[in-house]
Amino acid sequence: MSDAIPEFSKSKSGDGQEVSLTNLSAFASGPGVKSGKEVAAIIAVAVVIIGGIELALRLFHVPLYIMPPPSSIAYALFDEFPLIAPHLGYTLVELVSGFAIGAVVGLVLAAVITQFPFAEKIVAPYILLLVTTPMLALVPLLILRFGFGYTPRIIAVALAAGPMVMINAATGFRRVDSAKIALARSYGASTLQIFWKIRAPMALPMILVGLMIGAIFGLLTAVGAEMVGGGFGLGNRLTTYSSMIQMPQFFAVVLILSTLGILIYVLFFLIGKKWASWEA
């Protein structure tokens, strides 16, 4: 008896502008849509900037410990990579396992909580609190409890990624299109079928956005946690190199980290293009 008045004009599904920062349209203007000319221009600009910095640093005899020239960073990257590589491995382990835990929990919670609007309203402020609190702040506490191993870092990554995944996925799951659900019901679809065949695909673009942001936040938190304590990981390399004033090596690690971030973005961009391109 709780039927809603059938209304089509108001329940349009294409209302994808809900979260401006996280909209999938960011994907459309991302990599992969550039012409050869644009790529050439981007490379030219990079060459000019890097060359300019190199030239300026050498011209003004800027000391190495303030800002190493790009060439020395590149040399350090190749020279020290065998030493840095294991740390990259540690960071990846923390990132991947923490993110996997956070993403699974976030997705399940989002799927469940959006089925109960009342419960969702109650829980919403706490989720917001989890999203806005920098989970890095908990790392010293986690280290006290779990020591200097993987555990506190993985927990921190999961805590950082989970809420991001959850809040975006929940936005996706809330996008109810009554006409599409009615379509499924008219063929006798069960609640579970409606979830897998209608709600989940409709939520997928927002889920991907959540996963991408969650992964980036996870990377930030992993590196941050490594800087707080423990003897391994890329974050730990950053503190070690800077304390030894080995700036070329320091920037080599920074370069690896930004590459990781870009790879995360490209990965989800490609997944989005393959599985959620109907939205754009």
Binding site: M1, I5, P6, A179, A182, S186, Y187, W278
Partner: protein, 277 residues
């Protein structure tokens, strides 16, 4: 069934009443609306905006439960969505993440049945969508999307097809084309069709009977037979008979809407209606 009736109607609506419980109070959408649709018949339902046409159709499909009254398919009361009833929704309502083939497969996936490929190919050919199976809805025009939706609805071979303002969003030329297509499909399958529309011309062109619903709460106000033989040509739409019929139906709808009504009176009449047994 009443004693006088010789045949069971294909779809029988008996004293259908529907009250929506909304935040701003109860809303009586249908008030003891009764209507019989015979087998192989095309019946159009027209009426002023918000008169409960869609509510009536959704109730016929089993998607909505009536507050009181009942809907019978071949004499058997409908309690939920029925496999023998297909629906074509407003604005094709295709799933945008599925290509055309996958959209048409959707009902079979839900039911866990194997799609009848030969029949689907026949339907696709009938509506002129051959070779578009790999296209996504966004790549198709509005008319093509609605054709695909018709194929999806007919793929399960329903004996009743409910069409809820299916061509409302299309331009008038595409709409005429779609009307002819519906008639062709009907000549082909003889599926019983209940058709909701805002367009009186469309209703007359397609239907054996046009049913006019009153303003909310909806009940059957008038009923007109449309006597023309099929297949109908567009020329009959220019005859005086059609012109007169169109005007009569228009007056039924507009005349009622044009009558000035104070809000108090409206509420009072709704009250009276609800008190009646």
């Amino acid at each position: 069934m009443n004693a006088g009736e010789t045949t069971t109607p294909k779809l029988g609506v008996q004293a259908a009443t529907k009250i929506y419980h909304t935040a701003s109070g109860d809303l009586l959408a249908l008030d003891r609306c009764s209507l019989d649709v015979r087998a192989n018949e095309i019946v159009s339902i027209v009426g002023p905006s918000g008169c409960g046409k869609t509510t009536l159709l959704w109730s016929m499909s089993g998607l909505h439960r009536l507050t009181s009254g009942e809907i019978r398919l071949d004499g058997v009361k409908i309690t939920g969505p029925h496999p023998d009833i297909g629906i074509v929704f407003q604005e094709a309502n295709l799933l945008p993440w599925r290509n055309l083939d996958a959209n048409i497969r959707f009902p079979f996936e839900i039911k866990g049945e194997k799609p009848d490929r030969a029949w689907i190919a026949h339907l696709l050919n009938r509506v002129g969508l051959d070779g578009f199976g790999g296209k996504f809805p966004r790549e198709l025009s509005g008319g093509m999307q609605q054709r695909a939706a018709i194929v999806r609805a007919l793929a399960l071979k329903p004996s009743v097809l409910l069409m809820d303002e299916p061509f409302g969003a299309l331009d008038s030329f595409t709409r005429e084309e779609m009307n002819r297509l519906v008639e062709e499909i009907w000549l082909d399958t003889k599926t019983t069709i209940v058709f909701i529309t805002h367009s009186i011309e469309e209703a007359i062109f397609l239907s054996d009977r046009v049913v006019v619903l009153s303003a909310r709460p909806g009940k059957v106000a008038k009923e007109y037979r449309v006597p023309f033989a099929r297949p109908r040509s567009l020329e009959i739409m220019a005859t005086k008979e059609v012109f007169d019929l169109t005007n009569r139906i228009k007056m039924d709808i507009v005349g009622e809407r044009a009558r000035p009504k104070a809000p108090e009176q409206e509420r009072a009449s709704a009250e009276i209606v609800r008190i009646r047994p």
